[in-house]
């Protein structure tokens, strides 16, 4: 009961913060504008950006939570198994070939899925440790190929790739934002449905099997959903790091451990964190619009280190 009431308090607090931040982002600097301009700005620019930020944050945080359960390690995140690296590589190739934005997104998604398939293929032992090693190898390979690509392309293309890799919520349409919203609902719904199985995975593969879980199938499904979710998010917004690692870790440090509470709260907190980071990215150095991926890491890393220092204190 204690955990439940704590979870509810967290949910209410996060919803309030999210609502205030959303209202601020939608309506800031609109008081002197005509009604039609306000409508255009809100519907064509601000609402898509806001929905994108919340849904991408939710996807990354929920996928990070699932990865940490699979690896039984609070330092795991979706990037660990090569999904984000594969997506980045796919997008970089598409940008280097001067492809339109839609093709870049498709290439990123294909890269994420390809990395997932390769990691599963390399993980013959069906052990989380083997999957982790496969992910490390895929990330190293992606990084090396990207480095070679950087030296081959022209300066403007290199700048485009680097900007994309740093992540931004500014360039999604309302249709893309709604698609991302759909992906986030599907990913959160799937992992909420598998909340008890995620708890069982925390006990380790052998114990999970002894409890009746088809571990191999569960892990394959989990990794596929993560690849689709993160692939979709990265495809449309570029690389946004740290949310998948930090959000579940913070929630667990605050006593939220059961995945039935952890999944929805991670979605709310991830969405809130991404939105807050995007707010800072937009308004901390106007008229510059800074990369949101850099903001999440700049804000998240010190806070994460602070939490690690407070390890022994109750939340």
């Amino acid at each position: 009961m204690l955990a439940l009431s704590r979870g509810r308090r967290f949910a209410i607090g996060l919803l309030l913060l999210l609502s205030i931040n959303s209202a601020y982002l939608l309506l800031i600097h609109t008081d002197a504008l005509p009604q039609q301009a306000i409508t255009d700005i809100v519907w064509q620019l601000r609402l898509p950006r806001l929905l994108t930020a919340i849904s991408v944050g939710a996807i990354l945080a929920v996928c990070g939570t699932a990865m940490q359960a699979q690896f039984r390690n609070p330092l795991a995140d979706p990037g660990l198994v090569g999904v984000a690296g594969g997506a980045g590589l796919g997008a970089a190739f598409a940008i280097a070939l001067h492809s339109p934005a839609a093709v870049v997104a498709i290439a990123a998604f294909a890269g994420a899925l390809g990395a997932n398939v390769l990691a599963q293929f390399l993980n013959q032992q069906q052990q989380p440790q083997s999957l982790l090693l496969a992910g490390v190898a895929i990330n190293a390979l992606s990084g090396a190929i990207l480095a070679v690509l950087f030296s081959l392309v022209s300066d403007p293309v290199l700048r485009s790739i680097q900007f994309w890799l740093l992540g931004s919520f500014a360039y999604t349409s309302l249709a893309q934002a709604i698609m991302l919203w759909g992906i986030s609902v599907a990913v959160c719904g799937y992992f909420l449905h598998r909340a008890t199985a995620l708890n069982v995975l925390l006990l380790g593969s052998a114990q999970a099997y002894a409890l009746g879980l088809d571990v191999k199938r569960e892990q394959q499904s989990l990794n596929l959903v993560v690849a689709c979710g993160v692939g979709g998010a990265v495809a449309m917004t570029g690389m946004v790091g740290f949310i998948g690692l930090m959000v579940p870790h913070i929630l667990r440090r605050c006593g939220i451990g059961h995945h039935r509470q952890l999944i929805p709260l991670a979605a709310l907190a991830g969405g809130g964190l991404a939105l807050a980071a995007d707010t800072v990215a937009q308004y901390c150095a106007p008229p510059l619009d800074l990369p949101v991926g850099a903001m999440t890491s700049l804000a998240g890393a010190p806070f994460f280190l602070y939490l690690l220092r407070q390890q022994q204190r109750p939340c």
């Binding site: 204690l2 955990a3 940490q68 359960a69 039984r72 390690n73 609070p74 008890t196 199985a197 708890n199 069982v200 925390l202 006990l203 380790g204 052998a206 114990q207 099997y209 002894a210 409890l211 009746g212 879980l213 088809d214 667990r252 006593g255 939220i256 451990g257 059961h258 952890l262």
Partner: protein, 257 residues
């Protein structure tokens, strides 16, 4: 009944034949590397034999789905590692995963109380000591079987006393005897302490270099000459002053000394 026929596992186990009955405690004994844990993992269905098979009710284990198997046997592994983020109660709630519904609060409270874990029910599993985690792992396995209506039911324990203090070891072994006698559960445990096996087991199976070299009542299998032959250790057997008057095994000197 749980049984195995000509069971072999690579170079670790060779031609093991055995039957494990419900309502009794069986201890698997042997030196380090003799294949005790491998045999237990084969009986649990965690490993696939290279030859022979393990059967439950005359059907090979691989004919059962993981969920059905989980109704018939529960496993306590050697390493009770900390579980990320869950409280003791939340860990115990996973015990009935195969039944798609958590155990009732009364069932959880009963096992926690019986094993002196009730004060720890809301503590994060990560904050428990090694011994407390071992007791939670044991409670988890007991709850898994207790919430199952299937027959037969087996509790498979891999060195359950390794992290426990003396009083907790005695409590756990007595609890196993009660489970066997009162709830008709078959308890199969890997042990290193021959005195515990002598005192609490109804039957012992002794492994040497992957072969089952003795199987039967502990008084018959754990004689001074048999212990000397397998463990290379001189012992004397002294009479125990209390019922059931099974002898106490006392090491004297090692051959190499």
């Amino acid at each position: 009944m749980l049984s195995c026929h000509a069971l072999s596992l690579d170079q670790r186990l060779h031609d093991i034949d055995g039957e494990w009955h419900t309502g009794q405690v069986t201890a698997i004994l042997g030196r380090n590397g003799a294949g005790k844990s491998s045999l237990l993992h084969l009986l649990a269905g965690l490993l696939t034999p290279s030859r022979g098979c393990v059967t439950l009710r005359q059907r090979p284990l691989n004919a059962y789905s993981p969920a059905t198997l989980a109704q018939h046997r529960a496993l306590m592994l050697q390493d009770a590692t900390p579980i990320l983020g869950l409280t003791v109660t939340e860990v115990l709630e996973t015990a009935t995963f195969a039944k798609h519904r958590p155990p009732t609060p009364q069932q959880i409270e009963r096992v926690l109380t019986e094993l002196d874990l009730y004060p720890h029910r809301q503590r994060p599993h990560q904050h428990l000591s090694g011994g407390e985690r071992a007791k939670v792992a044991f409670a988890h396995a007991v709850l898994q079987l207790r919430c199952s209506d299937a027959t037969p039911r087996y509790l498979l324990l891999d060195e359950p006393c390794a992290a426990l203090d003396l009083a907790a070891q005695e409590q756990l072994l007595q609890y196993c005897q009660q489970l066997a006698q009162q709830e008709q559960i078959g308890v199969v445990m890997v042990l290193h302490d021959l005195n515990q096996a002598m005192r609490y087991a109804d039957a012992v199976g002794v492994l040497q270099n992957g072969r089952l070299v003795a199987y039967g009542p502990p008084q018959r299998c754990l004689t001074a000459s048999q212990i000397h032959a397998i463990w290379q250790q001189e012992v004397v057997l002294l009479p125990h002053p209390q019922p059931p008057h099974r002898p106490i095994i006392v090491p004297t000197q090692t051959l190499s000394a």
